[in-house]
């Protein structure tokens, strides 16, 4: 049975999540990808206020397609996470506790996750049409000039993810594949 998670994602909730857990996220999450991360980290470096409250937040690495009239959002699946590796440790240190994306993360990101208590969720890449059904509301809250890369506040219901890397550094990309290969010998 999937674990239901309601935002905000506190450090206590993070500690209970284990690599391999299927989860359904409900509540508010934020979108940001390459360009928005760059700007957020520049603000952190200058000691300025961020346009979102990162404490106990989940950031979804996504740039959706435009919404059609009457729809909350277009297709909205995850983008590859490693491009955010240079930025994630900075935001985790600021209080971010969750990331949704797909693909590998750097040792620096995993170290920051272990140090501060954060979790890396995977959503199924290439399933943007399906995932958009779980997004009930979307509103641009910063960097409108970036188009698809703007920061959006999303209200999600039962958004399906799998814990890839937990706050102890256990990594499903390693263990899942090893388990498959072991039984397939």
């Amino acid at each position: 049975m999937p674990i239901s998670i309601t935002t905000p994602l506190t450090r206590e909730k993070v500690r209970n999540l284990k690599s391999g857990d299927s989860c359904l996220i409900s509540g508010v999450i934020y979108t940001a990808r390459d360009a928005a991360h760059k700007r957020l980290c520049e603000l952190v470096a200058q000691g300025k206020e961020l346009p979102l409250d990162v404490k106990d937040s989940i950031i979804y690495f996504v740039g959706p397609t435009p919404a059609r009239p009457g729809e909350a959002i277009g297709s909205a699946g995850p983008t590859t996470s490693y491009r955010m590796d240079a930025y994630s440790p900075i935001l985790i240190a600021e209080g971010q506790t969750g990331m949704i994306g797909k693909g590998k993360r750097s040792p620096e990101v995993i170290a920051a996750m272990k140090e501060h208590g954060a979790v890396y969720f995977g959503a199924i890449g290439g399933c943007g049409a399906l995932l958009s059904n779980c997004i009930k509301k979307a509103e641009v809250i910063a960097y409108d000039d970036l188009g698809a890369e703007a920061i959006r506040r999303l209200e999600v219901e039962n958004f399906p993810v799998i814990v890839i890397i937990d706050s102890e550094g256990n990594n499903l990309y390693e263990t899942g594949r090893a388990a498959y290969l072991a039984q397939n010998k």
């Binding site: 435009p66 590998k104 290439g126 594949r177």
Partner: protein, 279 residues
Amino acid sequence: MRTISAEKVTEVVRRLCINANCHLPQDVKDRIESFHDAEKWPQAKEILERIMENYQMADEGDRPICQDTGLACVFVKIGQEVHVEGNLAEAIHEGVRQGYTDGYLRKSVVRDPLDRVNTGDNTPAMIYYDIVPGDKLEITVAPKGAGSENMSQIRMLKPSDGLQGVKDFILWAVENAGPNPCPPIVVGVGVGGTFDKAAFLAKKALTRDLNEHNPDPFWADLEKEMLEKINELGIGPQGLGGLTTALAVNIEQMPTHIAALPVAININCHVARHEKEVL
């Protein structure tokens, strides 16, 4: 001489951009479904089910299969007997502009690789021209996402590296990519030519029907062998383990220099989009 108007080209490119992004080709669907039937690892099977559900939903609602609606790669085969009235390149860009705007597709192009300002309409298209005999104009639109494009590789092997070198490089590229390009993937391989021709062949290989093999039996056998070897890696759908790492390996080869063995590997995700129309 046969005359085709630039307006007609725009209209076709517009339609191909929208259709390619919302409707996965049947050959790709068939591959995903047969791997789903063969896949025994529960998590992998479930992911393939979600992938099938996703493209069905895209089909029914005319929605983009993936939010990365890509760079618009446009392959143009133009017959020598065809006269295009107007500006062909501009007609293609206009088709992309209209398709990506009217189809609610994502605008994913920046005007300069370093200043990174979005062009706002997904232009320019990436156009590949091929001049051939005849009076037909064939246009293929293959939207290409960057997640898989970024995992592509090129290497100038030595002739002494031979067949084994080519095989090792293909496996290394897939292993190195791991979960990043949204497996199950389609692997396009270009062997021979020059540095740039090999890369072009690898990209062109991705537009080939997944049920068709290289016409040369040697290369067709290599495609089959590499697909098997890749699917022994255990990376699996989304990199979480399983049989289905790749749906197909398409290889294109051409003559090369006595001192050269260029090999390029262009990776595509399971949203292996391509849509063709002949005018």
